[in-house]
Amino acid sequence: MRLLLVEDELEIQRFLRQSLGEAGYEVDVASDGATASSLVSRFTYDGLIVDLGLPDQDGIDLILQLRRNGMQSPVLILSARRSVDDRVKGLEQGGDDYLTKPFAVAELLARLRNLLRRNSSGKEDVTKVRVMDLELDLLKRRATRGDDVLNLSPQEFVLLEYLCRHAGRVVTRSMLLSEVWGMRIQPDTNVVDVHIYRLRGKIDTEGRTPLIKTLRGIGYVLKNH
């Protein structure tokens, strides 16, 4: 998959290019709007990552201009601004996503994956999710591990569903807060961790292979192999 990163800060450019490269993406980089426009007119990208504060023009103007010229690829907007512009909200409703700086790389990758998947195959319509011997029935809201039925609260079910859908990949606390609880907050306390511990207590019972792994300082992974 080929991405265009439009970002003028060299440091951010460097580590993003590296992280995206390691995640298996091919990345082109533009440091300003003009370069980005000419690159988009010459190549086809599967997705764009655009910083709003570009030296020559506003990132939103660039996105709107590219859209007018027929570009359909999804855009992940990076913003260091304090308030979310109404136009960003418009783009978000149109299927694009935004991320406030500073962000966790894991979160950027997760959002990017979501965007690209949404674009390629539309919304997947599954009724069952399987990770190893863990199975979620999304219609009956029932979770089983092996032969055991797991006794989960509705909240825990949603949390586990999110982890399963991102099995094998890092999910951060702020991803969980925004996707499972629907809020963008940064608690001073380990509220999310306690939910994970409780969930782990129900899933990774004695004698079973632990599925939920903690990555200190980053987040969690639900192992899928």
Binding site: E9, E11, I12, R14, F15, L16, Q18, S19, G53, A80, R81, R82, S83, V84, D86, K89, K101, P102, F103, A104, V105, A106, Q155, L177, W181, G182, M183, R184, I185, Q186, P187, D188, T189, N190, V191, V192, D193, V194, H195, R198, L215, R216, G217, I218
Partner: protein, 487 residues
């Protein structure tokens, strides 16, 4: 609905101004009329007194000169009757003219010697006798059986008899009554028209003021870009509108400056932080051994805390300047708080804290959900940091038509009493707090930006109590209207 409109009109300044103006006008014109009425009444009386005095003089003369024979009474009666036909201000009274004038002569012993007029004259004689006879000046005489008084002039002739000539004040009163009736009719009409004109004019004038208020409160609540409608006239209202618009220009300008400053500050700090955080994460992912990873993890934690501190400081700074940018939606505070409590409850019970929530049901407010999430998270974080195991946190939510009230209480140590209401100040914190002293300043700032307020104190039984009051959706909508209605 119409009674509500009536109440609104009666509370308006236009109504009050018109009422007072009309009252002053009505009293003034009433005073003028009373003076006019007295002048006219006095003038009419003077004329009839002059006539009476003249006539009684003539009658006295005639009575004196006519020999006291058989013809005496006939001659005097005829002269008296002739005189009664020349009554001034006389109105036709259905042929019953005698009732308006009488002539009475009494002898030296006071007995009646001659009577010309209606009836037998005994009632008149009795009335005259009971009156202390005044000299030559005509006086008022009330006669039994007549509700209108007579004006009586008297003359004494040489043979010792007394002559009385009485004139009913009926005609005089009729003239004055006609004057009063006509005046009252016109008076009411003019006062009503005057009231309507004043009301219309002030209402029209204050309508401009209302438009300005409406626009100004709209501007205060949402955007600073709109302006109050400028009147084309160069009068006081036009000047008010222009002055307000100038003021708004300046406010918008400084607000813009503030936003630009905080934005660029945020941007300038966040970009390097993003780069640092990214590098740290890369290093961490490139699997380092556990002892090497520990400092990186705590560095990332510190970075995140620094960012949250930066966000909060800038939010508080903007809110203190009433420049916090809100993207408000209609939301149910009950639902929002429940979700937050669900999120925090496991962690709190892990720490040995109990959480009790009691809510009176849905509480719709117009608010920025992201900010409210942060406010509630902040308060619950605080509870967790400051309470010892075994304490209980009570979260209560209630709402009336005007306000939704979120109350958070605990049975811990409570706030430092010496801090008082200063706890909402930036940088003020309790002795044992290791925070930045921004939390409650932020909570207060957000509540204020939403048109609400926060109060904090200690419970009587011990423990802290914090109350956040936000206007409900209904109150937010009616705010603009009520500000306008009371002009």
């Amino acid at each position: 609905m119409s009674s509500k409109t009536t109440r609104t009109v009666m509370r308006s300044a236009a109504w009050r101004i018109s009422l007072w103006a009309t009252l002053a006008f009505a009293l003034g014109s009433m005073l003028v009329f009373v003076m006019l009425h007295q002048f006219v009444a006095g003038d009419i009386q003077r004329r009839s007194d002059a006539w009476l005095s003249g006539e009684v003089e003539v009658l006295g003369d005639v009575a004196e000169r006519t020999p006291k024979d058989r013809l005496y009474s006939r001659v005097v009666s005829e002269v008296a009757e002739l005189a009664s036909k020349e009554v001034p201000n006389k109105q036709p009274s259905g042929g019953d003219e005698n009732s308006s004038v009488f002539f009475l002569q009494t002898g030296t012993n006071g007995a009646m010697t001659l009577w010309v007029g209606r009836g037998d004259g005994q009632a008149e004689l009795a009335a005259i006798r009971s009156t202390k006879s005044m000299a030559d000046v005509p006086y008022d005489l009330r006669v039994k059986g007549f509700h209108i008084p007579f004006r009586v002039a008297t003359v004494r002739i040489d043979d010792g008899s007394q002559i009385y000539l009485g004139l009913s004040e009926r005609d005089e009163m009729r003239v004055l009554r006609a004057l009063r009736i006509r005046f009252t009719g016109w008076y009411l009409l003019i006062v009503l028209i005057g009231f309507a004109v004043v009301f219309y004019a002030t209402r029209r004038m204050l309508g401009f003021v209302r438009q300005i208020t409406e626009a100004a409160s709209r501007i205060g609540q949402s955007d600073l870009r709109s302006r109050v409608p400028a009147s084309s006239h160069n009068d006081e209202i036009g000047q008010l509108a222009r002055t307000l618009n100038h003021m708004l220009d300046r406010i918008e300008n400084s607000m813009h400056q503030l936003h630009t400053m905080t934005d660029s500050l945020a941007h300038d700090l966040r970009s390097p932080l993003t780069a640092i955080r990214g590098q740290l994460e890369l290093a961490l992912l490139r699997e380092v051994s556990l002892d090497q990873g520990e400092p990186i993890v705590s560095a990332i934690d510190e970075l995140d805390r620094l960012c949250e501190f930066l966000n909060r400081s800038l939010d508080v700074a903007e809110a203190k300047a009433d420049a916090l940018r809100l993207s408000t939606v209609e939301l149910d505070l009950d639902e929002l708080v429940r979700v937050m409590v669900d999120l925090y409850e496991p962690c709190m019970s892990e720490k040995g804290l109990r959480v009790r929530m009691h809510s009176a049901g849905a509480a719709k407010v117009m608010a920025d959900p992201a900010l409210l999430h942060r406010v509630v998270a902040n308060l619950l974080d605080n509870e967790m940091k400051h309470l010892r195991a075994g304490c209980t946190v009570w979260i209560g939510l209630s709402a009336d038509e005007q306000f939704a009230t979120l109350q958070i209480e605990d049975d811990g140590l409570g706030f430092d009493v010496e801090l008082g209401q200063q706890i909402f100040e930036q940088g003020v914190k309790g002795r044992e707090s290791n925070g930045h002293g921004l939390g409650l300043a932020f909570v207060e700032a957000v509540a204020r930006a939403h048109g609400g307020h926060v109060s904090a104190g200690n419970r009587e039984q011990g423990g802290a109590k914090l109350c956040i009051v936000l206007p409900t959706v209904a109150a937010s909508y009616s705010l603009v209207r009520s500000e306008v209605e009371f002009v």
